[in-house]
Amino acid sequence: MASLIRQVSRLARQNILVNLVGARAASSGVPPSQSINEKTRDNPLTSVEDEVRVNQEGFFSEMKRRSSDPAATSTPGELKITGASDGIPEFGEVELGSVAGAHRAELLEQLRGSEDPFDVGLIKQGQFGAGTHETPIIVPTCEGSRLVGCVCEEDTGEVVWMMIHSNEKKSCDCGNWFQGVSVPGARTH
């Protein structure tokens, strides 16, 4: 407990506390403050152009939003779950049956159009046009750094491992670019 209290001054210096308040605003759809990016904005290689929005669907939706593919950014229609008494849905409704728990959450997320309900984050090279220097693959971190494994081609026998830190853009030798981004409220490196 004492060690946590000691962290407060460090967090205040890094404007994390400001971002914690901003994170709450982010989950309701308002973009958070950009104070965390001020010191890295000048460096073109490592700057984050705009703060990454983390909504309930995680980073897959962010990748879709950044990609130039028009089909990927379209939102699905309104989801109407049937309340029919005989269990047979009307035309245009969706029926879930008596699914419960994590399985239900996954089905609902998929019906809403999310491709990655559990934030597995397996992004293939070329998916959403990501992996280039302009649109790198976003690697979210909570600790400030994260281990990334690049499978350079589909049938490669070896995985290239690298440590990526928040606000850092790094490339594998095969030309795949990764960008580390802190989840709002997390530590930076």
Binding site: P76, G77, I88, V94, E95, V99, A100, G101, F118, D119
Partner: protein, 296 residues
């Protein structure tokens, strides 16, 4: 509440009780071999056997509860279960590979060619393959077809409430009139699935009855040279696997009747039972051609 897609199971006594029951069974068997008092062997052995069956029933019903009623089996968990079932069936394949190896070693191995000299050995009257064993082959192949029918019926019914395809909200691929038409016609898949599953279980039970009759009427025993040993070990273990597969399919039939496999509920249990049944079928085909046909 953390949102992981994997299933962290609750604490459960069944692994421990399963281990204890198996310990009891092997201990009583060893005691029987070493002339322990029969009363101890029977009492201890039957208690352990009962505990084993009880553990299996309770453990697997816990799995059914976790999947159907608690919704713990997400797509990530089901993917892992598939891999697990494939590896288990692979281990069973190698179990049978060892017996086939032994069979070919004693039938055409160098030492056997010199000592036994011919196959079947002199004095052993092998079973004529193109009567009853061919019937068994037809039964198992037919049950493989009926179980495939059941699988198709369940997967159609699984994607359709009351057997009707639910159109994607944003695609708008069919009109409301067509949709209502499909609703009226679509409820037959559940009945088809139940019928074909019952047929499969019945064929499996019929296979076991015929094998029992064959065992009773055979002119040789397990003690009759290498022929009898390999024959009864291979067909005996295959029969045990047919029994397990039939019980598995029977439980799946009950779950189907209770609508565990209805809309959006395509649980992996039925897939696992069908894979196991196909494995049993393939082993019988191997047995038929290697032991019955070639060995005649």
């Amino acid at each position: 509440m953390f949102r992981t897609g994997y299933h962290l199971v609750d604490i459960s006594p069944w692994p421990f009780s399963g281990a204890m029951s198996v310990l009891g069974i092997t201990s009583s068997l060893v005691g029987y071999f070493h002339r322990a008092p029969l009363m101890w062997v029977y009492v201890f052995g039957s208690i352990s056997l009962f505990l084993l069956v009880f553990t299996m029933v309770r453990w697997w019903s816990d799995v059914v509860v976790e999947s159907t009623y608690l919704g713990c089996h997400t797509s990530l968990v089901v993917r892992n279960l598939r891999v697990g079932m494939v590896l288990f069936i692979l281990s069973e394949v190698f179990f049978f590979v060892s017996f086939f190896w032994a069979f070919f070693h004693v039938s055409i191995g160098e030492i056997s060619m010199r000592t036994i000299g011919q196959w079947p050995p002199l004095g052993v009257k092998a079973i004529y393959p193109w009567k009853v064993p061919a019937l068994n082959t037809a039964i198992l192949l037919g049950s493989g077809m009926s179980v495939t029918w059941a699988h198709k019926a369940v997967s159609v019914h699984n994607k359709c409430p009351a057997g009707v395809l639910n159109p994607n909200v944003s695609s708008g691929s069919i009109s409301p009139e067509e949709y209502n038409n499909l609703v009226e016609k679509g409820s037959c898949y559940q009945k088809q699935a139940i019928f074909s599953m019952v047929l499969t279980v019945a064929l499996g039970a019929f296979f076991m009855c015929i094998q029992y009759e064959e065992y009773y009427m055979a002119s040789f025993t397990i003690a009759d040279s290498a022929f009898g040993s390999t024959f009864f070990i291979m067909t005996g273990f295959h029969g045990m696997h047919v029994f397990v597969g039939t019980v598995f399919l029977f439980i799946c039939t009950l779950r189907l009747i209770y609508r565990h496999f209805s809309f959006n509920h395509h649980y992996f249990g039925l897939d696992a039972a069908i894979w196991y049944w196909h494995f049993v079928d393939v082993v019988w085909i191997g047995l038929f051609f290697a032991v019955y046909v070639w060995g005649y």
